[in-house]
Structure formats: structure tokens, C-alpha cells
């Protein structure tokens, strides 16, 4: 009899896919609370996934988790609602990992053609580490028209209208500033 106890791997996997997918779909629909839970869950999965693959670069794991989270966030419009989520997440995680390894000049760790996308959600690791690069410091380098909207809307939790009043920018300029600023942060991490 096929119970999920007999196939813990499969059961856990389907549960993670369904759970994350539901949260992601809610998030894309505008539920920021669900989206936050999604990103938090995802960061644990990413951490375990990268830690296993970057045994020789343990100091890079947390940076890569953060870089991948930013990529998932800035590219979330490329996820189609009727598609399974795991392959999408895995493709992004793998792309960012390969990109990071290339910066390190080593291609040897890429020799993993059988890297199974299902492995991404199998394990999770909530043990956060320090990232080498501090995104808060990168944020300081952004021009005011991006930095201030991010600080007010994304860090202090003000509404766009309030942030517009505080900065003297128009509401659409605040939105554009947040959007471009986050993209700029993602690009800085990828350098």
C-alpha cells in the first residue's frame, strides 16, 4: 500500500512543491504575507542545496542564497501559474550557482549533469550564516531616487503614497525607484 510514509522522499517533495507553489501563487496575486513565507521557506531549501554542492566554498553559501532570492524576486514575472514551481526554482538556483562558480574561476564543480531538479526541495537548512557581502552596504551605493524609496517602502514598511510624500517624488517614481533599485542590487551581487 503506497502511503507517504513508505516513500518519505516522494511525500516530502510533493508536499514542498505544493506548499511553495500555493504560497508563490498567492504572492503573485498580491498576498505579501504569503510571499514572505514563500521566500523564507525557499531560503532554507536553497541553503541546504548550495551547502551540499559548495563543500569547498562554504563561505559563499549565504551570499549565493541571497543572490538567488533576489533573482527569484526580480524574475518572478517569468513564472507561469500553470507550470510546476520546482523546475523554475531549480533552473534559477543552478544558473546563479554556475555564475558564481565562474566568477571563482572554477568549472569543476559544474560537472554535475545529473543534478536532479527534485533535489532542490528535499532538504532544508534554517541555520543562517553571515553573508560576506552586506546588502545593506550595497544599498548605500544606490542613487537617492532608488535608495530612498527602498528604505521607506521596503525597509520601513511605509505605503507608496507616504514614501512619495517623504521623498517629494511622484508615486510612480517611487515604484520605479523600488523596482530599479532592487534590480540594481541583484546586478551588484552578480558581479
Amino acid at each position: 500500500m503506497g502511503t507517504s510514509d513508505e516513500y518519505p522522499y516522494v511525500g516530502r517533495l510533493a508536499a514542498s512543491e505544493d506548499r511553495l507553489r500555493n504560497l508563490m501563487v498567492l504572492g503573485l496575486g498580491g498576498d505579501n504575507r504569503a510571499y514572505e513565507v514563500f521566500l523564507k521557506d525557499l531560503s532554507s531549501h536553497l541553503r541546504a542545496y548550495f551547502r551540499k554542492r559548495l563543500a569547498r566554498l562554504p563561505g559563499e553559501v549565504e551570499d549565493l542564497v541571497q543572490e538567488t532570492l533576489l533573482a527569484v524576486h526580480t524574475q518572478r514575472h517569468t513564472y507561469e501559474l500553470d507550470q510546476p514551481l520546482t523546475p523554475w526554482l531549480h533552473a534559477i538556483a543552478r544558473y546563479k550557482m554556475i555564475d558564481m562558480l565562474r566568477r571563482w574561476g572554477g568549472h569543476d564543480a559544474l560537472n554535475d549533469p545529473l543534478d536532479d531538479e527534485q533535489e532542490l526541495l528535499v532538504s532544508s537548512d534554517t541555520q543562517m550564516m553571515e553573508a560576506r557581502r552586506d546588502i545593506a552596504q550595497l544599498l548605500e551605493q544606490l542613487p537617492d531616487r532608488q535608495r530612498l524609496p527602498i528604505e521607506y517602502v521596503k525597509l520601513q514598511g511605509l505605503s507608496v503614497i507616504e514614501a512619495a510624500r517623504m521623498t517629494g517624488l511622484s508615486e510612480s517614481a517611487v515604484k520605479v525607484g523600488v523596482h530599479r533599485g532592487i534590480k540594481a542590487l541583484a546586478a551588484m551581487l552578480g558581479r
Partner: protein, 213 residues
């Protein structure tokens, strides 16, 4: 900044996200790109003078049908490649089948023709300008399609660049067919395909540079 703080920051005020962004970006890009291609064709080359007479020939329509089918497959492929984790689909099979059909019919016509006519069937009157004209016409579509792809997240830059180039190449053929009077299958199978391949190769070469994210 700790990862948990980053998560909070990203989620704060994130809001709803539009759907079908890839499709809409490509629709916009190809609309503008095709307009640019038509302008280049109309200004630099001009519509073929025998347009209304040629319309009665089946080959006239074949010259649109094949590249249009190819463009449809290429657009599907490009949109899928722009979205991480998506399977490429059956578009490569469709493109291969179209190419084989074109080459096979070109070869058949050539082999059945008397030897003294073969030179004309191959070279026509414009073999020397055909590929470069197609490449020229493809430029606006190429730039527009690359712009559309830049807003997506391709994880296979060489393949994606080539597919984006194929979109430009096939659409350029459709537009060039409005100008070009050549109607022989061997000519089309060689020079049209060659012209189409120029943006494909260009896309594969610049993909890894331009399409990084």
C-alpha cells in the same frame, strides 16, 4: 543584512505581478521590429514590381507560409527559453521539418531540371545580395527581440540567443519575400536559408554577453 531581513525587505510592498509578461513583451517587440523591417524593405529595396501577377503563383504564397510557420515555432521556443525551467517544446522539431522540406524540394527541382538550367535555378538573378539583404532587414527585429528577451530570465544563453536570432531571421524572410522576385525552390533553399542563419549565428554569439542576468 541577514537573509531573513532580505526576505522581509523583498516581500514588503511586493504586490501583485502581471501575468503573461513574456508573451506581451514579444508581441510589442515584434510589432515594432516588423515595422522597422518593412520600412527598410520599402525604402531601400521596394516591393517587387510584379507583385499582383506573382500573387497567382503558389510559390508566391509558399514564400510566406514557410517562414511564417518557422517564425511561429521560433517565437514559441524563444518565450519558453526566456522562462527558467520550461521545456523547449517541439519547436526544434518543427523548424527542422520545415528546413528539411525546403531543402528536399530544392534538391528535387534541381535534379529534375536539365543541366543547362541548373545554374539559373541555383543563382537566380540576385544570389549575391539575397543573404545580406535578409540580414539587413532582420536587424530591427533582432534588436527588438533581444530587448524582449532581456526582460526575461534565460538560463541557456547560447541557445536562447540563437532562437531569438531565428525569430528575427524568419520574420526578415517574410518581409524580404515582398521584395524578392526569385521563385525557384533551389534558390530559396540556399540563399534564403543562408540569410536567415546570419542573425541565428549572431544571436548565438552575443547571447552569452547580452542576455546575462
Amino acid at each position: 543584512m541577514k537573509t531573513d531581513e532580505l526576505v522581509k525587505m523583498l516581500a514588503a510592498g511586493a504586490g501583485a505581478v502581471e501575468q503573461n509578461v513574456a508573451q506581451r513583451r514579444f508581441a510589442t517587440a515584434l510589432g515594432w521590429g516588423a515595422c522597422g523591417a518593412m520600412l527598410i524593405m520599402a525604402i531601400k529595396l521596394g516591393v517587387r514590381p510584379d507583385f499582383y501577377v506573382a500573387m497567382h503563383s503558389p510559390m508566391f504564397w509558399m514564400k510566406f507560409a514557410f517562414p511564417l510557420a518557422g517564425a511561429t515555432a521560433a517565437i514559441h521556443m524563444a518565450i519558453r527559453l526566456g522562462q527558467p525551467g520550461m521545456h523547449i517544446g517541439n519547436a526544434p522539431t518543427v523548424v527542422t521539418a520545415l528546413l528539411l522540406t525546403v531543402w528536399l524540394s530544392g534538391a528535387t527541382v534541381l535534379l529534375q531540371a536539365p543541366i543547362e538550367r541548373r545554374d539559373y535555378l541555383i543563382y537566380g538573378i540576385s544570389w549575391d545580395v539575397c543573404p545580406s539583404n535578409i540580414a539587413l532587414i532582420s536587424i530591427p527585429v533582432f534588436i527588438a527581440a533581444m530587448w524582449a528577451m532581456k526582460g526575461l530570465a534565460p538560463t541557456r544563453p547560447v541557445t536562447t540567443g540563437a532562437a531569438t536570432g531565428l525569430v528575427a531571421g524568419t520574420i526578415a524572410i517574410v518581409v524580404y519575400a515582398l521584395h524578392c522576385p526569385e521563385m525557384e525552390a533551389p534558390f530559396l533553399a540556399i540563399w534564403y536559408v543562408l540569410g536567415m542563419l546570419i542573425p541565428v549565428v549572431a544571436g548565438a554569439l552575443i547571447g552569452p554577453i547580452v542576455l546575462r542576468w
